[in-house]
Subunit: 160 residues, 6 copies
């Protein structure tokens, strides 16, 4: 049976930390589906269409990575793409407690779905989308925290 994992997040924006998690997880799974969560209650800084294009661009040479967006419960997306694994990266102990609650509730509701965690590389620990967003919003240069090969000009196309 094929081992499919989803990698859900708001990716606002997708950072080198996210990229690293996906690349390191690739040997463990037959396929990794990056799921851009759409939350109608929370304004996104970058447009969904940009996020989709950027992440696809990052993994354009990885046939085992797929990128999709989804609105609704993460476990419903797992069923849609036949994934049995939810992949998440953890940086800090606050991340951990947040992830643990969600993973345990998901497990309780859908025992067949397993959440799997890998830890960010030390150098990526401080990189989070909120800080990166803040740098971009104020006109700073965040390119060292973003995947290679993206057109930085495009990052000016954001809300707010």
């Amino acid at each position: 049976m094929e081992r499919v994992a989803i990698f859900p997040g708001s990716f606002d924006p997708f950072t080198i930390g996210h990229e690293s998690i996906v690349r390191r997880a690739l040997p463990m799974f037959d396929k990794v589906v990056v799921m851009i969560g759409v939350n109608t209650n929370k304004q996104s800084f970058f447009k969904l269409e940009n996020k989709l294009r950027w992440i696809k661009q990052v993994f354009k040479d990885e046939p085992n990575v797929d990128v999709q967006s989804h609105e609704g419960l993460t476990v419903d997306f797992c069923k849609k793409v036949n994934a049995r694994y939810i992949l998440r990266g953890i940086r800090t102990s606050s991340d951990f407690e947040y992830e643990r609650a969600i993973a345990q509730v998901n497990k309780k509701m859908h025992p067949e779905i397993e959440s799997v965690f890998i830890l960010t590389m030390p150098e990526h620990t401080p990189v989070n989308s909120s800080i990166v967003r803040d740098i971009i919003r104020h006109g700073g240069d965040a390119s060292q925290f973003l995947p290679d090969g993206l057109n930085m000009e495009e990052f000016n196309d954001h809300e707010d």
Copy 2:
């Protein structure tokens, strides 16, 4: 002197975790008053009148449990109902740090009021109102995280 505790929260919604805390605390106190905090600055997902009815329904056979709503400082409610104890459940270490600051400030302002903590049962640790709300908002079945005997249909009556 009667030992009265209040159990404050936004209960948006009241979960099996909350219910368990109240039931376990009952032998310690002569009376437990569940206080639904009303925060005019923060939109509630469920209506106050529904919260009140649901929690009263859960404890309808417990003469030592009272349910009220309150807008304002928690310590002021303590005085109103002659309570000397503020009861709180703690699940995680992030909960702990948040609760500690509030309890210590309350103690500083009102030394006669004591905050008392019990820890959630392990199986309730991941259950928090925010996750339950998210499940309900997206049409999932959260009934296993809610007290028995409630009419689940009613949970469709919410904001957003």
Copy 3:
């Protein structure tokens, strides 16, 4: 039914932090039994007989405080003294995680026994027996971290 709580610890030594927890908990319970745990596997710095005398001295005017020593499981001591509550103070989030595991295992084995927590006063947060012991071992003056009315000379009577 009488509400009896035990307050277990190694109290090596008993600090102003411990004293404060007992005094604040007294109104909640009809009796608080301070239980000095004896661990045959771990060397104690102060002698058991000294610990017993010091703690009894601290509460000599409190008829509702009893002081005893115990070797073995804490829950067995609860049964011996008819206590239904285990009282603990928490200072930090590391304390919290340690206490949570013990409290939840105790609850699982003896559902009728409840662990109850209060948080130390802010000014007592850094005071722990290990640091106090270290000061005494190196000849420093730790009297401000110890209960009033003790004969400080006696603290020279220790192992090591």
Copy 4:
């Protein structure tokens, strides 16, 4: 070379905890510039002009303290005032993880700028602007958490 530190924050409001950090840091630096961060995306409870006046009033006898406001990246403000140090107080381990990410990203972008931390005094640990704001909003008396010598009447001049 002059050692200049900035002390950035939203100070909504400036508490005795903040005051204590600045006073304790003064001997370490030749100058400390309190920087009131202006975040156009987040509503402030107190008006900027009030914050500026209050903090200047607190340090009116300290020639080595300067008070300014700034909108934008903190590191840009460092350059503007020739500061090589960013001073921050830490109260809790959640504070710590938040501060660590920001400090490490700043260091990565501007290796010549160092973030320096001192820990709040134990009695100030529970004092945070959010709790103080909540007390003021509901008409409680928060004066014991605010610097001496301020006109408390003025604190009624706030948003919301």
Copy 5:
């Protein structure tokens, strides 16, 4: 290529928490090797031969689980059994920080080896070997925290 994971630990003793981690991880890997770490510097409570027999007994019907002991660096054992994954369960945020340091150092020294984490089930969160050992040492009944089908009499065969 076969996906082999090792599950290292001192297992002093192996609990239902450990068992659950291995069973949940089995679908993710082609083989899981339980590695009982031998630390000549730290006295083990249970004898190595007993640990080996117990864990083999637990997984006697699982052809994809192997049980071995190892003295030395965990990464050396990975090479010995051709494992590319180190599997660990995490219960609490203290666990997390401990595991993160080890995983990141291992990754730095052997980039081809990946540490993979799953979170314990909520009901297993408080179960740790140290607490279980303490119960057994004092003659309590720890059978509910140990895998089914073991001969409890045997647990009397321990050091100390």
Copy 6:
């Protein structure tokens, strides 16, 4: 007045993380004294004379760094070398809580001494002496976690 800081630790061994903290702190102080704490109750893995030689070697070109050993309370050493600052690096939130207690007790006993913290660089976060020691004990190559220019052969000269 000269700003002197001490940097205390057991340095068993001194790692690249320690080295980085000292180098980054140098511009803040006129002098940094590395204090190797001698704890007669706890066996050291490396010999004191080796630790002294190694650390002196690391900073042989830094006239503002001094290296000494000390047995007893850290604050007594501060007085001996006329230091008003205790410098510490923090890596994780467990580090933080441990450091906070010690710093706050020191401040309480000697208000004129200030503990000052800087955060390790992200890539040094997982590097701690205990893990490095473990690698060396088992014959692994820990040189990438140790300061440049040391003779690695010498690290075979250790206890145990």
